[in-house]
Amino acid sequence: MSTQNTAASMQLNFTLNGQLLNMRVGPARRLLDILRLDQGLTGPKEGCSIGRCGACTVQLDGAAVPACLLLAYQVQGKEVSTVEGLSSQPVFQRVADSLIEHGALQCGYCIPGIATSLTAALTQKPHASAAELEQAMCGNLCRCTGYSGLQQVINDLASPDQHI
């Protein structure tokens, strides 16, 4: 029952926000619980627990993924970044400035996940088009804003000749 106390715990080694971590943990413990409950990183949020809302988005080896669907054994040897670790990166700061300038948030519960997804997309492809950035947002829900600010952010961040 308790994934934390499962007898067959594993030795987990992975990089979290640039730091190498070693821990004993049940192989089926969710990455989101490792981050929030064990590591106290509350930037990733929980909104659905089934990979549908994007509030828990983190980067796994640079790709945006829902931390609620990743289990401990799946991050073995990999690099995980949360909003806390990404925030010093210039790409993240560009995304953050744009989100703030265009007022793309209200309650903000969705916004660390959205910023993480956009940062991943722009890191992987610095000249992403607006359509590609919109595609990168397909796993992130926002209930407050109606997405108008986010539309502007995407046009702002997309390569100038690539607007939709």
């Binding site: 909104g47 925030s87 209200q106 660390p112 829900l141 804003t145 109606g146 997405y147």
Partner: protein, 763 residues
Amino acid sequence: MNNVPTAVPLDQAHFAERWSARPDSTEKVYGLQQYPTDELHWPGLLHGRILRSAWPHAHILHIDLSQARSLPGVRAVVCAEDIPGTNSYGIIFRDQPVFCTDRVRFLGDAIAAVAADSPEIAAHALTLIKVVYEPLPSIGDSQQALASGAPLLHPDGNLLDSSQLSHGDIDAGFAQCSYIVESRYSTPRQMHVFMETEGGVAIPEQDGSLTFRVGCQSGHRDRDQLADILGLPQKKVRVIGLSTGGGFGGKDELTMQPAAGLLALKTGRPVRIHYDRKESTRAGIKRHPIQMFARTGCDAEGRLIAHQLHAVLDTGAYASLGPAVLTNFSDHAAAPLYRIPHVEVQGQLVYTNNSVAGAFRGFGGNQATFAVESQLDKLAQAAGLSSAELRRRNLRTPDDDGVEGQSQQMPCHPDTLLNSALASPLWRLNTADQERGRWLSGVGMALGAQGNGLGNGLPDAGGASLRLTEQGTIQLAFGFIEYGQGVVAAVQALACEALGCSAADLEIRLGDSNGPDSGPTSASRSTVIATEALRRLRDDWQQQLIQLGKSLLGDQRALRTGAGGLWHDEPQGERAISYQALASRSKGESLPTLKTHFDFPTGPDAQPRGRYLQLLIATVARVRVDRFTGRVKVTHLHHITAGGKVIHPPSYLGQIEGAAVMGMGMALLEDVPMHNGEYQLDNLDAYLIPTLADAPVQQVDVIETIFAGDQYPVRGIGELGIEAISPALMAAIQDATGVRPCDLPARPAVLLAAMTAAEGNLP
């Protein structure tokens, strides 16, 4: 008034001077804001879980907690017996048990709760609680509930409340009509889907008191109810409503607070409860599903003569705010924007074994507006008039009373909005795709009116406190909760203007039941309360500060409050003394401390019902319908709003646009289907809300001008954007396809079938 007010685009170009980022945006984007469910750092924190009923309707024969209690890692298991105070809550009627004892009435009913060392242990412990039920037949809809012989869910029967609003003589009215249209309408059980589900932590203090740090909508009201449940004096309960990940009405009622409080008292340790989405779906408040029948008629010239609307609202297992929703629904069902001599509205609010329905942005008004505006379009068609012309001939004027006979204060003449809507560029967009290809485009429009405040006749007080702290900051406190709507930004902007200070001088405190009671954060009332509080405080404040300044400086020259301190009140006057120096140099003297408390404005004649402060909106929608699938893509929305002065433009814009997309979800997508009290879905894989890909391009134009003599230049606009969106979308769909959906959400399959049936009539 000869000057017709104009609508100004709400964008950075037109509102450059007032435009600023939300004060809390940086910490949110960087993931630094601690939400109620992020309160994980408390030493000794325990994780709570609540056991929910296994049946929609059943007798409880036996509850056995012993196995759960003996599971290692479990620190407490509580049920009804452990409640020191009253085992019930509810904002209007306390008819909902904290923990059920002998009967359950819906699948969200709580039976017991567990606190354990980890969430996993708590979840395991729930499976060890043995409850023996005797299932009862469940009431799956309001028709069943009202049928004779139906089991009674509450002592007074299944009819919780009914409303009757009428004037004139409805039969005589219809007898005079040349055209009459009638139709049924229905609206869905929409779910709030705040991204942060219900949650927070209860913390026992040294002195035996309890502090709650939770997601809620009124710290004071929660405190009052919690004190009764916990058997504690009110001063031993403190509720701090933290900045929260969305509310929309769904956190108005108590959620996890009673269980967390009981577990914290029992264990002496902080207890955290965070509903997962499934529990939020199961136990959380929803929007009332409403069945309506409407009949509306006009004379040969298109003058409205008679309007009748009968409705049944499914309020679920407990009352919550249902009766207040029914009142607001009825006010809107009486067609508040139009002059009609003969009106009859009847509403029934019915208990069932379904999910509890209560407060949700729009509060019943938007569902009624959907039916009323749809009726007008149908009637216009019958009478051979354009939708706009029929409305123009019947609009209420600002001199008219409201539908409840109450005085009302409209922001402007409604025809101003009608004209602006007709001038929208959306009517003129290229319609080349309207050829008989795959896509059909259409444009539609609807009007809406909405009042601020809880409504005449209900206690609706607000207050604030203001003081200069020893550190020299200006501390302004309200009871409101920031749940995304931007009350922090609005209060900051209002305070800077009223008090003459800068944002850096201010410390804004919100949502603490130990602070001033401003009333609930609902009914679009916060901005109105904040404006009125500051209007009442400002003169005293300035006088006291200036007096203090003069005595400290020993200088009688005129001063004024300004950024950073007091300034010489003369051309090119310099700063005379900073707020910090005022505070530090006035040793021993008491620093200015002010409080205010007042009732929400209800107008000069204080009628027992209705709302005084009114706002108006026109929404123009453009859609594209897929002829192959019946799927509707909303491409553009254009809103014209008259809601007083815009205090913080990005927040205003976000509230209108966000409410519109939420309303679009209700109109096209969202519903929690239930069958005999059983949920047919439990998470966001089956309950879909609009995504970025569904989002339309939106424009908001605002009319800020109000009538001379209107004392309330600032209104609350949190619900305005949802008011007219549903009928506007249905009008647009009709324009595109010839089919007018009357059941929401307008599902693709249903629309497609109707389109196929009507294929011969397509343009």
